[in-house]
């Protein structure tokens, strides 16, 4: 079976086109086989609705009188990039408000504009002969702008990592709230409905392809940033007219203690031009595989705990090292279905025609890591030796040790030299002042925050700040104490680095 895009568009025009969603196609191919399904179906619609940080809008505000060449501009206190022409600016979804922080960001401005609300525009400038004005304060709606063109550098991830947390503290990430001790697993992506998973060879999805973006027609500009098709992590750069979009499909979001992002509804129609394309659109959740990673390791490469399919993830429970762990999604499968269904109805009712790509998107290649000219020092490069004390010793003996070693922190270890707690000179002096000499155990802190020798120094700084503490014992895999890093030591190191 072969058909062309022109033939499909002809059928859309005369109303005889047969469109199914990618979910329906999977079932259809299972029932009828590839060739029969390919014969019957002209178009398969896909859809996804997830948090897509790499999104934003180009605005043209129109010229004021006297005119201003904006040097910096804010919309509701969220700064937009205006290092382009006088009254053009790009507002990114993750830019945070200067005053409200993580509660309000670029995505919220975009959503407010879609709701028809007025936003407050403030701009400053240095003033020129042709653009004398130095400041402007006004309020503006979407209708008042000349253009509001969404350009999203990276959308529609083919699939994404699933996340869990192997540490003993809750962490807040762009993969949502991750409960301690593998308390949950989160994932993202529409699986069976994911646009790129339904055309992994980029046979029909290419530069110029007309798509559904935010409830309006949009287009693919090129491959997305960080496009990594070889590993099955392709992405797309897309554009569309914000003025035509619907708030239902563009939603502002905040990931707690991470920042703002934007949920984008995106759908791509896949013309069934031959059996191979039909076969690709028959992909099921069971065939899309990703990895579960430990997000408590804040490094570029995180440990992978296991491989998992979207079918398993969607079942609500997966097995992690013998433990049943609850899973839930961050992207909305309910809304992804809405996107695929709405795109299907547009095509059926003759409102949306398919386009041939003008250029292909790379099918191979993967993302390179950043070139770093200065290697980040590791904990093992900066840690210092520390005295320890065995559990069972008394407060008085701890005091003696602290005085001898002139250290404010004294890790407490068991018989096998494994870390079980920590006491500070403050704990010890307080106990002695209250004449509570005796066993050390009651006054020590048991829940010790630690680092490993291979961790980057940045992590230590972040932990010290986050937990408001002044030192971190360095331990190996068996919890044996190797040394200590202190806030004081790190600041000396950092200031030395600055002076150099």
């Amino acid at each position: 079976m072969r058909r062309t895009i022109e033939e499909i568009n002809e059928k859309i025009r005369d109303g005889s086109v047969n469109v199914v969603t990618a979910e329906e196609m999977t079932a259809l191919v299972q029932e009828l086989g590839v060739s029969e399904a390919a014969r019957q179906v002209d178009v398969v619609t896909t859809g996804t609705f997830g948090a897509m940080c790499s999104s934003g809008v180009f605005f043209n505000f129109g010229h004021s009188d006297p005119p201003i060449k904006m040097q910096r501009v804010w919309l509701n206190d969220v700064e937009a990039y205006t290092g382009i022409a006088a009254v053009d600016a790009y507002l990114g979804a993750t830019q945070l408000s200067d005053t409200k922080g993580m509660d309000y960001g670029g995505s919220h401005v975009i959503e407010d504009l879609l709701k028809g609300e007025e936003v407050w525009l403030k701009a400053i400038a240095y003033g020129t002969d042709c653009y004398p004005r130095k400041r402007i304060d006004t309020s503006i709606t979407l209708d008042d702008m000349n253009q509001a063109i969404m350009v999203n550098p990276r959308n529609a991830y083919q699939k994404y990592n699933a996340a869990t947390n192997c540490s003993s503290k809750t962490i807040y990430t762009y993969m949502g709230t991750l409960l301690p001790n593998n308390g949950n697993v989160t994932y993202s992506g529409a699986g069976v409905l994911s646009p790129l998973s339904n055309d992994p060879n980029y046979e029909t999805i290419g530069v110029g392809t007309r798509i559904f973006l935010g409830g309006a027609q949009g287009y693919i500009i090129s491959e997305g940033t960080q496009h990594s098709p070889s590993g099955g992590f392709g992405t797309l750069m897309v554009t569309g007219n914000l003025k035509k979009m619907k708030r239902e499909y563009i939603r502002a979001a905040t990931f707690y203690k991470y920042g703002t992002t934007m949920y984008v509804g995106l759908g791509i129609p896949i013309p069934i031009l031959n059996d191979d394309i039909a076969r690709a659109t028959a992909v099921s959740d069971a065939e899309i595989v990703t990895g579960v990673y430990d997000y408590s390791v804040p490094r570029r490469s995180k440990p992978e705990l296991r491989k998992v399919t979207y079918e398993e993830l969607k079942s609500g429970m997966i097995d992690l090292n013998g433990k049943e762990v609850k899973t839930s999604s961050l992207s909305s499968f309910y809304m992804a279905r809405q996107v695929a269904a709405e795109l299907k109805s547009w095509i059926k009712s003759g409102k949306f025609f398919l386009s041939s790509p003008v250029e292909r998107i790379p099918v191979e290649g993967s993302t390179k890591p950043m070139k770093q000219t200065q290697e980040m020092p590791l904990i093992k490069d900066v840690m210092v030796p520390v005295a320890t004390i065995k559990v069972g010793f008394s407060v008085y003996e701890a005091a003696k040790k602290i005085i001898e070693d002139r250290f404010n922190h004294l890790p407490v270890v068991d018989e096998d030299k494994r870390l079980v707690g920590i006491v500070t000179s403050w704990d010890v002096s307080k106990a002695l002042a209250l004449s509570k000499d005796g066993d050390l155990a009651p006054i020590m802190t048991r829940n010790v925050i630690t680092v490993s020798p291979e961790d980057p120094v940045d992590l230590a700084v972040r932990l010290l700040e986050k937990h408001n503490i002044s030192a971190l014992p360095v331990i190996d895999k068996d919890r044996k104490v190797l040394g200590i890093v202190t806030g004081e030591g790190l600041s000396k190191l950092i200031s030395r680095g600055l002076r150099q």
Binding site: T186, S328, S329, S331, S332, F333, Y334, R337, N468
Partner: protein
């Protein structure tokens, strides 16, 4: 009335409960207390007629106050049914329906507050006083 009091790291070391008792003269009965890292939570029982007064004093001292007699709410109209709240709930009070909509069963909720922060579009609210 039962109230959930949350203390952030800035105020956790201050003797706020004692001060509140002294300033209002109202007896506060502490039901449970939990300190995790730099944050703390206390559940107190307050006589109904002096509740407002106590809450005002606590709020002035920057304590986050939640009523525990009113159930948690989820704004169905603005929920995007992502499910970010589902696995964050320790008691399974939030679940996907057959059609992938997300539903909350208020009766099972123990008001831990996990889902409030987990929700990216902020549509779950614990009743604020």
């Amino acid at each position: 009335m039962k109230l959930l009091l949350r203390f952030n790291s800035e105020i956790i070391k201050k003797p706020i409960i004692a001060e509140a008792v002294l300033e209002t003269g109202v007896k506060l009965e502490i039901e449970r207390a939990r300190v995790e890292g730099p944050q703390g939570e206390i559940v107190v029982n307050v006589p109904d007629d002096s509740c407002r007064e106590v809450v005002n004093v606590l709020k002035r001292k920057k304590v986050e106050v939640t009523r525990l007699d009113v159930p948690i709410t989820k704004d169905e109209e603005n929920c995007i049914h992502c499910g970010a709240c589902v696995s964050a709930c320790p008691v399974g009070a939030i679940r996907y329906e057959y059609d992938w909509r997300v539903r909350m069963d208020e009766k099972l909720c123990v008001q831990c507050g996990n889902c409030v922060n987990a929700c990216p579009v902020r549509v779950i609210k614990l009743p604020e006083y």
